[in-house]
């Protein structure tokens, strides 16, 4: 919790958390006495970032349950449900109430309170009404939207936005995003400029402009002034860059997500991996032979351990954005340093020296523990990254991204299908193939479809149709290959990558610079800043032409590349109603300007790392704050559009 607000960010995101926290206590206090909290499983993670369990306890929460199907047994008579307005949850709640009513005829004993996050919807109320329980429930709202993960990272934690937006055409998440951004605007001032790419992103920008008008009606006193800190909002639509999430993330945090899956900045791993009980002294040489990797050893009933991955862990801060290739070395170095620090005790002769050492000991031990944890995790990831499957897939990916030997990759993918690697891995590569190539040739298109259906089951016919609809896996049209141009123009492939001392964002994928972040660089700096290029020179040269918001360059000079990418391009300037009176501060540029980046449809950890890398480069000139609908990776992205059924208990889905 305390990890927020430690950096000297110009944008105080901690206040967002405080706000959410305050509202939560209000929600809890609205019901008197002891109560039972029933949580949407998807909310409980985000909620844990807002308030610790002891806070809930202080406000009378005696028990917590997950909102799920089946009867809810509790002796507490006051129930508080907190959930997203989703229809199936309404059915569960109706089920609970129905059960209570059957149990004891006078159901009035129970008191039901339902709080929707972030707002109540008519449609849910309707479902409750149809279930005949609407009258039993007191309904409220809990306006939890953007949750601060870090000082530079906010997430709406909505699930499956990409699927909802592009497959279902359900724009609810855009509405939520607009409301959340509106809230930011009321807090930090109007975004002077809204720039973006993608159809849904455009939709979001339009809705923001519209809402600003509406806000003037709702709250007369709030005539929003132009923000002092934020120079622009960049909205990127996931559909603009689907290639990046499909590639395997190669940063430490990214790989943790790929291998274990991170949920609301927590990861669950076997307690054996990070076991605090292990007596072995941690040294750099890997002596712990715990590898439950590919060969499935019947491991003892491993207890899962939840580990928080945030900036309260100093070691993790150091590691999270690094390319995994150098993580081992860093761990080694730190292990040695800690060892030396421990050794200091031998030098401690006088009482004063001993006391000094003892004072340091607490920090040293927690550092030690953190080192143990990350060594364990890194080892596990290492075991995964040295497997031939992983390397083969990575090679295919990198060749595809770089546009080398495209046709050869077909054979590799075919072999992977034959080996029956998890379908998600295969789909990731096939989609990548299709995306970089502008589709597959008719013959191989049908061949791969058949291979997938026969290997992984016919229900994936729907999966394939979904992917086709999303333009992720398609038959080649007549159009020329657009991605080649984009790749060249935006210098997406950087041949020489120094993972140790990265010069460019391409280090996050060991050679491929995420398209999305390149686009951001276009907007903020006028283009990619490759190796040796003086940082900021580009920006300075363009700043005069920047007009409205100084320093922001906009899409100028990249129109051609943008045309090659799907979706509309936009650039709107927002002014204060009474004519823009910009503060002197902003004109003189004394304060680092904050650029807010919003990913509609989710972003990956590597993209976050790449943006942090940019922030490092721009230290003192510009800060970046990332907001996203959720954090995704290739697996979760594809999983959301995959057809899932149970046949004979074999789950068709992948592992995430």
């Amino acid at each position: 919790m305390s990890h927020l607000g430690n950096t000297h960010s110009s944008l105080n995101v901690t206040s967002l958390r405080d706000l959410a926290r305050k509202e939560l206590t209000k929600v809890l206090d609205s019901v008197r006495g002891k109560k039972c909290l029933v949580l949407d499983p998807n909310i409980s993670g985000p909620l844990s970032l807002i308030a610790e369990f002891s806070l809930l306890k202080e406000h009378g929460v005696e028990k917590m349950h997950y909102l799920q199907s089946g009867p809810l047994e509790t002796e507490l008579k006051s129930l508080i449900y907190i959930c997203r307005p989703q229809l199936h949850y309404m059915k569960y709640i109706a089920e609970h109430i129905g059960h209570h009513q059957k149990d004891n005829l006078s159901s009035s004993e129970y008191e039901y309170n339902l709080f929707f996050v972030p707002r109540r919807t008519m449609i849910c109320e309707r479902v409750l009404e149809e279930a005949g329980v609407f009258g039993e429930i007191t309904i409220g709202e809990y306006h939890l939207d953007l949750i601060p993960f870090e000082d530079d990272l906010l997430s709406l934690e909505l699930d499956n936005t990409f699927k909802e937006l592009y497959l279902d055409g359900d724009y609810t998440s855009i509405y939520y995003a607009a409301r959340a951004l509106m809230k930011l605007q009321t807090k930090f001032g109007l975004f002077p400029r809204v720039i973006g790419k993608g159809d849904c992103a455009k939709h979001l920008a339009d809705m923001l402009l519209r809402m600003r008008k509406e806000v003037a009606v709702d709250d007369p006193s709030s005539t929003l002034s132009v923000s002092q800190n934020i120079d622009s909002l960049i909205i990127l639509d996931r559909s603009v860059d689907l290639i990046t999430p499909l590639c395997t993330q190669l940063t430490y945090e990214g790989l943790i997500d790929e291998v274990f899956g991170i949920r609301t900045s927590h990861v669950e791993v076997d307690s054996t991996i990070v076991g605090p009980t292990s007596q072995k002294p941690v040294s750099a040489t890997t002596t712990t032979p715990n590898t439950a990797s590919t060969t499935t050893q019947p491991s003892p009933p491993a207890r899962k351990k939840k580990i928080a991955l945030n900036s309260s862990d100093k070691l993790f801060v150091q590691l999270r954005d690094m390319n995994f290739a150098v993580v081992g070395g860093v761990l080694n170095r730190i292990a040695r340093r800690i060892n030396e620090d421990y050794e200091e005790r031998h030098q401690a002769k006088t009482v004063v020296q001993i006391r000094e050492f003892i004072n340091k000991l607490g920090g040293l031990q927690s550092e030690h523990q953190s080192l143990r944890t990350h060594t364990g995790i890194a080892e596990e990831i290492m075991a995964y990254t040295v497997t031939p499957e992983f390397n083969k897939a990575l090679e295919v990916q990198q060749n595809l991204a770089a546009g080398i030997d495209i046709n050869l990759q077909n054979d590799h993918i075919e072999e992977m299908i034959n080996r029956q690697v998890p379908i998600l891995q295969v789909l990731r590569l096939l989609c990548l193939l299709s995306l970089v190539n502008g589709g597959l040739k008719q013959k191989s298109f049908e061949f791969f479809k058949k291979e997938i259906l026969q290997t992984y089951g016919f229900e994936h016919l729907q999966t394939l149709l979904n992917l086709e609809r999303l333009n992720m896996f398609i038959k080649q049209g007549s159009a020329s290959n657009k991605f080649n141009y984009v790749r060249k123009h935006l210098q997406l492939i950087v041949d020489e990558v120094d993972e140790q001392n990265p010069q460019d964002i391409s280090y996050v994928y060991s050679g491929y610079a995420p398209l999305s972040v390149r686009l951001i660089q276009c907007v903020t700096k006028g283009g990619p800043t490759p190796i040796g290029y003086p940082v900021g020179a580009n920006a300075a040269a363009n700043s005069i032409a920047g007009g409205g918001a100084r320093g922001i360059v906009g899409w100028k000079g990249h129109e051609d590349a943008l045309k090659m990418l799907p979706g509309k391009t936009f650039d709107e300037v927002q002014r204060h109603d009474d004519g823009a009176i910009r503060s002197k501060k902003l004109i003189q540029g004394q304060q680092p300007r904050v650029t807010l980046i919003f990913f509609l449809g989710g972003c990956t950890y590597t993209e976050i790392s790449a943006i942090r890398f940019m922030a490092q480069q721009d230290e003192g000139q510009r800060e970046y704050v990332i907001a996203t609908t959720q954090i995704i990776n290739g697996n979760s992205l594809l999983n959301s559009v995959m057809q899932k059924i149970d046949h004979l208990g074999h789950s068709a889905g992948g592992n995430s």
């Binding site: 707002r119 008519m122 724009y171 609810t172 607009a178 003037a216 026969q454 004979l648």
Partner: protein, 643 residues
Amino acid sequence: MGWSESEKLVVVLEDGLNEPPHSWTVIPPQYTLSRHVEVLLATGSTILTVDTKESQDQLLQQGPFTKMAVSPNGKFLALFTTDGKLWVVSTDFQKNLSEFATKSQVPPQQLIWCGTDSVVLYWDKIVLMVGPFGDWIKYSYDDAIYLVPEIDGVRVISSDKCEFLQKVPNVTEEIFKIGSTAPAAMLFDALDHFEKRSPKADENIRSIRTELADAVDACTEAAGHEFSQYWQRNLLKAAAFGKAFLESYNADNFVNMCQTLRVLNSVRYYEIGIPITYTQYTRITPDVLIDRLINRHHHLLALRVCEFLKMRTDRVLIHWACAKIKKSTDDEETICRMIVEKLANKPGLSYAEIANTAYKVGQPKLATRLLDYEPRAADQVPLLMSMQEDELALIKAIESGDTDLVYLVMLHLKRKLPLPEFFRIINNKPMACNLFEVYCKQQDLKLLTDFYYQDDRRVESANITILESYEQKDLNERINKLKIALKWYQDDKEHAFEAKAIDENIRLLQTQAQFEKEMNQQLVGLPLNETVHKCITTNHPNKASKLKSDFKIPDKRFWWIKLKALVEMRDWDELDRLSKSKKSPIGYEVRPGLFIKIGDFKAAGQEALALKDIQLLSEIKSKCTNHIIAQELDAYIAQLSSR
């Protein structure tokens, strides 16, 4: 507030009274201890305090009380007894405040409070005002009058004028009392001397130096209580004069008072005719004053007052527009233009209320046109729905981007309209369709089937049928559903592949069902690969081959399935035969190579050990990723090289 409880009150009354009360009055809930309405009833010689729960006899002897009145602050009660005594007590009857003998046996026509410290009694053409310490004033009138209590005085209404009777406010009294030496009076006097260029001005100021700030405040306040602009001006001048001698004086009060007086003077102007006092104005707030103005249709003044006080003008403008619509006889085009022109430069003004008014006075077309200007979709939609503008409501809801609003309209329409009509409305609106589909997928698949069918969306129909097929427990049912889907796909040339796939799916299910009987294995629903795999591991190679040819499994894949299955079975002979067969699409591979290929390094190592091939072993080791196995491999190598 308490009126809903009147029934309960009646019950109490029936119990307690045999005759009508001599008089009665109500204490509003905010002034009572119980925070509920209390009613005071004079009966016999006493008074009952009655609330919703109980009645309490105050056990008084002085009665009967023919008149009673509660003071504006709810603390005091004025009573008039039959023997002509005016008696003031606290409303809880604990304190006896004052008594005054009027020597009139006749009860007054009116007994009311004037402010909170004096009581006014009215007999025919005579008004008697009684102060807190028994001092009194009598006024005579020529005509009959009526008294209206105000928060700070009494309004006297006669047939030709309206007077205001008020105890002189303390600050005013302080300043203007003859011989007053209060600081404020001294300050006011100083100004007088100053204007006459008399040095006494300085003397005066010096004498009140320490209390000068209070004096300024007092003069400012006194100005507020004045109706005459002459005195207002003089008092404010005095305040300003005193202010000049102060180093750090917060002039907000002064400025506010100047503004307030300007507003008060303008509404008191005879053409407007709202003779409101300063105290009343601060009590009702400027907002209410604006309401009063617009209700009297003084829109222009209201607008100016709003602008002057920097308040929102929306309310005034909206009220104006509504009034215009109600009154105007022009055609809708003219009205609409007139309203829009006037309100055009006010962004964020809500048109919903104006439109609603237009709708209510029977101008639905005007309403629709006006609603177009409403910036908040959430406000447009419900009105459009109530105006039966269903389709427009849906369009507006879609424009708003608020999906819930779209659902609101759609569910309303679905309930209201026959299904085909409903489908017709949403058909050409993609977002509505999308949301409808999402809703149906969770709530009502059957409805979705109808929807796709009426719109002739075959592929979607097929997809939904396939979804349904998964839910079928019975195999035949499942196959039937798939057959329906097959038909849908076949109708569309673009989806030949899908048709073929579904056809294969059906055949697979049928084959699986057949094999299931023959093999006594659970097969139905497995993917083709796994089915083949199972056939091999359960020693039904013929069946596997049949599947291969029936479903045209490529050699390469079939070979892989077989390989995996054989390794699982540890069928080395067959594996050898397979790897050496010329037909093998993967080519000749030694057995350890097979294991490497499928990732079983341990087995590969054991094989290599058996072959005594050190080179192979180290090759395996270089590929191996597992520490334990790598160690074992090292052991093998050591074992071999030692020989």
